[in-house]
């Protein structure tokens, strides 16, 4: 029955996509919707820029993590030395 469910959701998903595409088809007629569409297009460019910046910040954070780990290890070495001294 799970296969059948999977099959049904697969078909339903395609039907949803067709409905969505059908609603897009009538977009051309109404200028207001056309403007909205162009605005969405502009927003997509802005959001992609933000995602690029976010990705850079994550890369930087991953590098910082590596430096923090190195620092932690060398600090733990120091601690062992001091403990040995003691």
């Amino acid at each position: 029955s799970s296969d059948l469910e999977q099959l049904c959701s697969h078909v339903n998903e395609k039907i949803d996509n067709i409905k969505k595409t059908l609603s897009l088809r009538n977009l051309g007629q109404e200028p207001a919707l056309k403007t909205m569409l162009n605005k969405i297009g502009d927003e997509i460019i802005v959001v992609n820029e933000l995602l690029n910046k976010f990705e850079l910040e994550i890369q930087f954070q991953e590098q910082t993590n590596a430096s923090l780990k190195e620092l932690c290890e060398s600090l733990e070495e120091d601690y062992k030395d001091v403990e040995h001294l003691k």
């Binding site: 927003e43 802005v46 959001v47 933000l50 995602l51 910046k53 976010f54 910040e57 994550i58 930087f60 954070q61 910082t64 430096s67 923090l68 620092l71 060398s74 600090l75 120091d78």
Partner: protein, 32 residues
Amino acid sequence: TLKDNINILLDKARLENQESIGFIKATKILMN
């Protein structure tokens, strides 16, 4: 909403990165 979420996360990541730079600097001074 997506755009606002990304802006919030971007600010959070930037802030954490700046804090970490200060943290590493302070730790190195104290280690010396």
